[in-house]
């Protein structure tokens, strides 16, 4: 009996000692957690922010650590073995268990976007994994860690490097899928040479109210909302945003979002009143209803940008004001957004305080990419709305902001404009290369004055060595092209052929101003070429009109010959634009018989109405069908 009692007392003593030791260690553990920043949120705050995750963290109890270890080991082992079927679930579970560990979230997002995606081989799967990486960072990582700069950088890097560059064999899939999302949300920016107009087109979204009550306070918007309410669409409903956007895209005459007019499906009976409301508001002569429609549209776009894409329209507008007319359908624009917004949220910086040194590679790289590809031409794909055809051309409006960004970064490093060319400026090489490319682009685009301006800047700032820099800009450009291996005799041909290509590419994309600019340049260089080769009969090119007609024929029937891919709807747009140009009528009348047969066949294959898509050009008279000759005698 006494033995048993002794054992009990001894065990009680062990229990007491254990509890004492635990309480002594507990205090030190808590202070150490605070030092290392591991305690970032109180339990009740976790529950309020995300009850599901709070529960997930508590449920495993004391086995949480070995459970997490098992999940990590399993996720990496399965990935190494090429087994991806539960990769997302495992990673979601790990990240839900460790939501405050930004490095964990950053690692898994990178893993999915880079490593796992390339183990799949279809566009859908590739895009899914890259998109998984984006949503993990944007929706989960930044939600729990809004001030962690590393997560913003990772997100920006996915947009810039994975989606924006060209090393991935499916980079076009990522670009086109993202463009489709943004096209549905924001539509196309206005095609204009003026930065200001593009920015003003976005301003209503940035200035729209945040909540429905503030929207209703506006009389124009309230009237329009009342009209919607009468037809069963209530702004308070969760589905209002998506429904309104869908109806606007389908029924409004807005060319920025509309599908081709002749290809539009008629609204279903239940949709007719709303379609009519949108159309009549758009065409409203008194402008009040049109204003109401515009305000509601801006509100809807703003809400979706904030709620779904976690973006800030004000910041987007500020970036456009600083860096140029960012087309938000472009992935590089989003790379710039995420690279800079992190500095604001984490360090409280304003847009004017953002320096390329902070964001370095992504900001400068993004702006350079936009200089080369900033003008996006979007052609919807009716058979797969998620995979539109996109094409692009250089956008000169980004040259000055990029140049200024380089200057600002360089000045921060060396302190003095006169020292920009020195070895202390590591950005000098990149800046010189960028300016040289920009000069060539501007010159080949017919903007000789701008090209000359940047040529002078290049020489003044960097004092480059070489006789090539002592020559006028025209010879500088020719010398650059010669360095690429183009013989002198073909330079003019290269210029006008390339410009003609760019001109019709712009027209196919709906950019009339771009077409005019390139076409003029093509004409000029054709005349230079003709003058140079005029006395050599064998080198003489056919007349420009004939060249143009042949080129257009190739574009319609064999675009690959011009190294272009022109989907049917882009051809429709091109034909429509050409038919409106009087000076093209004779070319089109000559061309039409040659292209009619093949285009009709292509339209039949893709279930497109040929008569609507490719109407005969003005003044065209079809040749009568030849009657068989009557037999003699």
């Amino acid at each position: 009996m006494w033995r048993d009692r002794l054992i009990q007392l001894a065990l009680w003593g062990v229990v007491a000692a254990g509890l004492t030791a635990a309480s002594l260690v507990g205090g030190r553990m808590r202070s150490r957690q605070k030092e290392l920043g591991l305690l970032t949120r109180a339990a009740d705050e976790s529950i309020v922010k995300d009850p599901r995750i709070a529960l997930l963290q508590i449920a495993p109890g004391g086995l949480r650590a070995p459970f997490l270890t098992y999940l990590w080991i399993r996720s990496q082992r399965m990935k190494d073995e090429g087994k991806l079927f539960d990769a997302k679930q495992l990673r979601d579970l790990i990240c839900d268990q460790m939501p405050l560990y930004a490095s964990v979230l950053g690692y898994h997002a990178w893993d999915m976007a880079w490593n796992i995606s390339v183990q799949t081989h279809t566009p859908e799967e590739r895009w899914m994994w890259v998109h998984n990486g984006i949503t993990l960072l944007r929706d989960k990582g930044l939600f729990h860690n809004p001030k962690d700069i590393m997560l913003y950088r990772e997100l920006a890097w996915i947009f810039f490097s994975k989606m924006g560059q060209y090393t991935d064999e499916m980079h076009m899939v990522y670009k086109s899928r993202w463009a489709a999302k943004m096209q549905r949300l924001l539509g196309a920016p206005p095609f204009t040479a003026e930065t200001k107009q593009a920015i003003e087109a976005f301003r209503p979204i940035a200035e729209a109210p945040d909540d429905a009550d503030a929207l209703k306070a506006d009389t124009d918007a309230a009237e329009f909302l009342q009209g919607l309410r009468q037809h069963g669409m209530k702004p308070e409903e969760a589905s209002f945003l998506d429904k309104f956007l869908q109806y606007y895209n389908r029924f409004s005459p807005d060319t920025g979002v509309a599908e081709f007019q002749w290809d539009r499906k008629e609204p279903a009976p239940a949709e007719r009143p709303i379609a009519e409301l949108i159309r009549s508001s758009w065409n409203d002569a008194e402008q009040a209803n049109k204003a109401g429609l515009a305000k509601v549209l801006a509100f809807v776009r703003r809400k979706i940008l904030k709620q779904r894409y976690k973006m800030e329209p004000e910041w987007m507008l500020a970036l456009m004001q600083k860096y140029g007319p960012l087309d938000w359908r472009q992935v590089n624009a989003h790379a710039i957004f995420w690279a800079t917004i992190g500095l604001k949220r984490a360090q409280g910086l304003d847009v004017k305080d953002i320096q390329p040194i902070n964001t370095g590679r992504i900001l400068l790289g993004g702006l350079k990419s936009l200089t080369r590809t900033g003008y996006m031409y979007y052609t919807p794909n009716p058979r797969d709305p998620e995979s539109p055809h996109i094409d692009w051309q250089p956008d000169w409006r980004f040259i000055e902001p990029t140049h200024q960004a380089y200057l600002a970064a360089g000045l921060l490093l060396v302190g003095d404009r006169q020292k920009l060319h020195a070895d202390e400026n590591p950005l000098a090489g990149g800046h010189i290369t960028y300016l040289a490319d920009a000069i060539m682009q501007l010159y080949l685009g017919g903007r000789e004055a701008d090209a000359d301006h940047y040529y002078q800047e290049l020489k003044d700032l960097f004092k480059p060595y070489g006789k090539i820099y002592e020559r006028p800009v025209r010879e500088f450009v020719i010398a650059q092209l010669r360095e690429m291996g183009t013989p002198p005799a073909d330079l003019a041909r290269a210029f006008w052929q390339a410009s003609l290509r760019n001109a019709y590419r712009a027209l196919a994309g709906g950019n009339h101003a771009g077409y005019l600019s390139y076409h003029k340049f093509a004409r000029q260089w054709y005349e230079v070429f003709s003058n140079d080769t005029g006395n050599q009969r064998r080198l003489r090119a056919p007349p420009f009109r004939d060249q143009e007609r042949e080129f257009l024929g190739d574009l319609m029937l064999r675009p690959s010959k011009a190294r272009l891919y022109v989907p049917l709807l882009a051809k429709v747009r091109l034909w429509g634009s050409l038919c409106q140009m009087k000076e093209k009528s004779s070319i089109l009348r000559q061309l039409y018989p040659a292209i009619e047969g093949r285009l009709r066949h292509e339209c039949e294959r893709q279930k497109v109405d040929f008569e609507k898509a490719f109407p005969p050009p003005p003044g065209y008279v079809p040749k009568p069908a030849q009657q068989p000759q009557a037999a003699r005698g």
Binding site: D86, Q89, W114, H121, E125
Partner: protein, 530 residues
Amino acid sequence: MRRFWAVARVTFLECLRTRVVIVFLVLLAVCVLAMALTMEGDGTLKGRIQTFLAYSTLLTQLLLSVVTILLATGVVAGDIRHKYVLTVVSKPLPRWQYVLGRWVGIALLDAVLVGLAMGSIYGLSQYLRTRQTSVERKKLLGQLPPRAGDLDRLAVNSEIFTARAKKQAEPFDVGQQVEAKFQRLVEESRLDAVIGSRIKRELQSERIKSRSQAPVDVKEVERRLRDARTRERIVAAIKADLKKEAIEERQLVVPGEGLTLTFKGLQPPRGRKEPLQLRYRLHPMHTPESRTLKSFWNVFNPKTGRGRLPWNFKDDSAEAVSSFLFSPKAVSDDGELTVEYWNFPRPGFITPVKVKADEVNVLYRVGSFEGNVVRAGMLILLALMFLAAVAVLFAVFLSFPIACLGCMIVFAIAMMSGFIHDATKLNVYTQKEPTAMDYFSHGVTQVAFFFLPSLSESSPGTALVDGMNIPFRRVLRESLVMIQRPGDDSTGLWRKLGFQVRAGAGLRAWLCLGLGCLIFWRRELARVQV
């Protein structure tokens, strides 16, 4: 023997009537059904089915293991605790028959439960197979032409609902290279110098082990150099090193060059149109920032050249398994296949790449999914029979809660066998000499897994997920014992013996039962008080 079967029958019926079986059955049914309907995997149909197969077989194994442990310990320990066993042992029933009968009853119940569970898993996986892939949905909506390829459906049929064998590429034949290098050593009169330097290194390491400070004895070096047996041993070691070097050189594909691999002994069923799969892993010397490599693959019939693809140019993930499907026409009638890999340099992707022959495999169908499911069920049953035997063993001398706890610990250790083996390996993760604790933990692991099966390795879920064949030989091995050549994971002892005995769960179950019978035979169940 009729009494033995009576015990088994009574056990079976007794367990069947308990609420434990019903509750676990219902739980299993609900969970498996929920998994089939809710799990999405990676968004593809293939991923969905694989997720379902992986988690349903794992859950089946877990739940049935818990049921088995609870029932087996419950019936035996319960009998002893409530003294029902006295009415049994006082009958002319040998004690060993009682123990064995209880075990057989539990095993029969397990067989029924496994049959039901695997039948449901099979049925639900066939149901999932009928679901549409995203390409099929698009075809229905007219977004894709009817003849558009559907890789997802192809993968489902050829990679999951099948039973495939794996064939490695033939090892690089470097015999001639090795001989040439060795002859060069001889011709350049460097052989003696090389042998001498190796002998010196051996002597140095002997001195380090014996903690001697004395320098290497030159006369000893010369003596060993003259000894024929030592020379023979060292020449063999030199040739082995030359062979390793030659293989390393062959494996490393520099930019602009290629590597040819051959496969022999492939047996794709004639007349089938199912594609074969090539699986491989690429190891770049310098991993690009994007962690992807650009590779070219060409697969063709060495006799006819058929199956030669236009260059299959693709992105591969560095250091991870990649794969692609190819036509069975690429395999010759005598089962040979040629695969070419080219490391094509492109800006940003210029790096030598190592391709190991044993990491390049061809997977081809050798059986049916149905047969695989049956064999998978048998493997699960064998594991449950082992657990039942352990439970009966513990229950004959421990109370129910302690016996349960002991069984759960055994089960947990057996399920984590892979992790424990990796964690207690010597000299894997550090360059330092193993400490006493490392040896101790390694030793304990080796001893423990002499008695315990590796349930994680024998689990059939991975094979079903991958569509890999579970050969009947494996089931036999798990039933009893298999004698085979030592593998890479075998210890030095087996390698010295030249063969390895691998005991399966079945044999271990018999050992546990034997021990249980012995203990029960000697156990005092009641005391006569006068």
